[in-house]
């Protein structure tokens, strides 16, 4: 029983950690894109 519990916990933890890291990376990249686009805009105007 303990092993069953341990196995499923481990599987879920790893999966969630991965999904979390994916979403964080995505967020970071999107922020970066926004920042760069703004920079580009401001440079065009100047």
């Amino acid at each position: 029983m303990t092993y069953l519990f341990a196995a499923y916990t481990a599987v879920w933890v790893v999966l969630f950690a991965y999904v979390f890291s994916l979403s964080r990376r995505q967020q970071k990249f999107q922020d970066e894109v926004m920042k760069l686009q703004k920079l580009l805009e401001s440079q065009k105007r100047s």
Binding site: M1, L4, V11, L22, L36, Q43
Partner: protein, 233 residues
């Protein structure tokens, strides 16, 4: 984007159904006698491993297509699939050791399937490593595609070599000889779990590809910024 959301939702529901099937619907193992509840690890274990092989196969196909078409898209897909292979391979290894301990009394054994799966996992890690140490994107694509193809062809050979060497892993239960069948309810549960994992895999794959594309956008923007900066100056 909307399709992606539908996909996410269906993956979520499929996962819930799979969990229900595993813990409540599927009967407790009796035929092998001594295993009992622990047998329920089997569904996730098989599904993770299946997904790892699926990912490896995707790496193989995408690598070939990349070499033929030279389009960045296939490189992105191959890279994403390889990363998911590592993730699901890790799941398979963890659930496998936690199954082996109560059932075989040991965490690990150098059996054919375990060894070749472990090797596959290492190869996928090496693939990730290779991608990190090549600077030019075009070259990174070509080199990793070549390695991906070699690795994917190598995997079944490793497996057969190990198998002829020695084996302890339970023989395939599903398509094995007579009398090796699963309880129909167990088979159904396994099918559901496999389906749910495949959905999850495809979903994560799409997300991961999207991430890589965003990274590409950043790169082009940065380059634009640089050239523009020079013009302004």
């Amino acid at each position: 984007m909307k399709l992606l959301r539908v996909h996410a939702l269906s993956t979520f529901i499929a996962m819930l159904i799979a969990l229900y099937a595993i813990f409540i619907f599927a009967p407790t193992e009796r035929t092998m006698g001594f295993i009992g509840e622990v047998q329920r690890i089997f569904y996730f274990h098989v599904s993770s491993n299946w997904t790892t092989f699926l990912a490896t196969f995707c790496v193989f196909l995408c690598s070939i297509l990349f070499l033929l078409k030279e389009s960045r898209e296939w490189d992105i897909r191959a890279a994403a699939a390889a990363e998911l292979g590592v993730v699901f391979g890790t799941l398979g290894l963890i659930s496998g050791t936690l199954w082996a301990r109560p059932v075989w009394g040991i965490w690990w054994t150098w059996d054919a399937r375990l060894t070749s799966f472990f090797l596959l996992w290492l190869i996928l890690l090496a693939y990730q490593m290779l991608r990190r140490v090549v600077d030019s994107p075009a070259q990174r694509g070509r080199l990793s595609a070549v390695f991906g193809i070699l690795a994917a062809v190598d995997t079944p050979i490793v497996y057969m070599a190990n198998r002829w060497w020695r084996t302890q892993h339970p023989a395939p239960v599903i398509a094995g000889g007579p009398g090796s069948g699963l309880d129909p309810r167990m088979a159904l549960t396994l099918c559901i779990t496999l389906g749910a994992f495949t959905l999850l895999y495809v979903y994560l794959w799409r997300i991961r590809c999207e991430l890589e594309r965003t990274a590409d956008v950043i790169e082009t923007l940065q380059r634009q910024l640089q050239t523009q900066g020079m013009e302004v100056r």
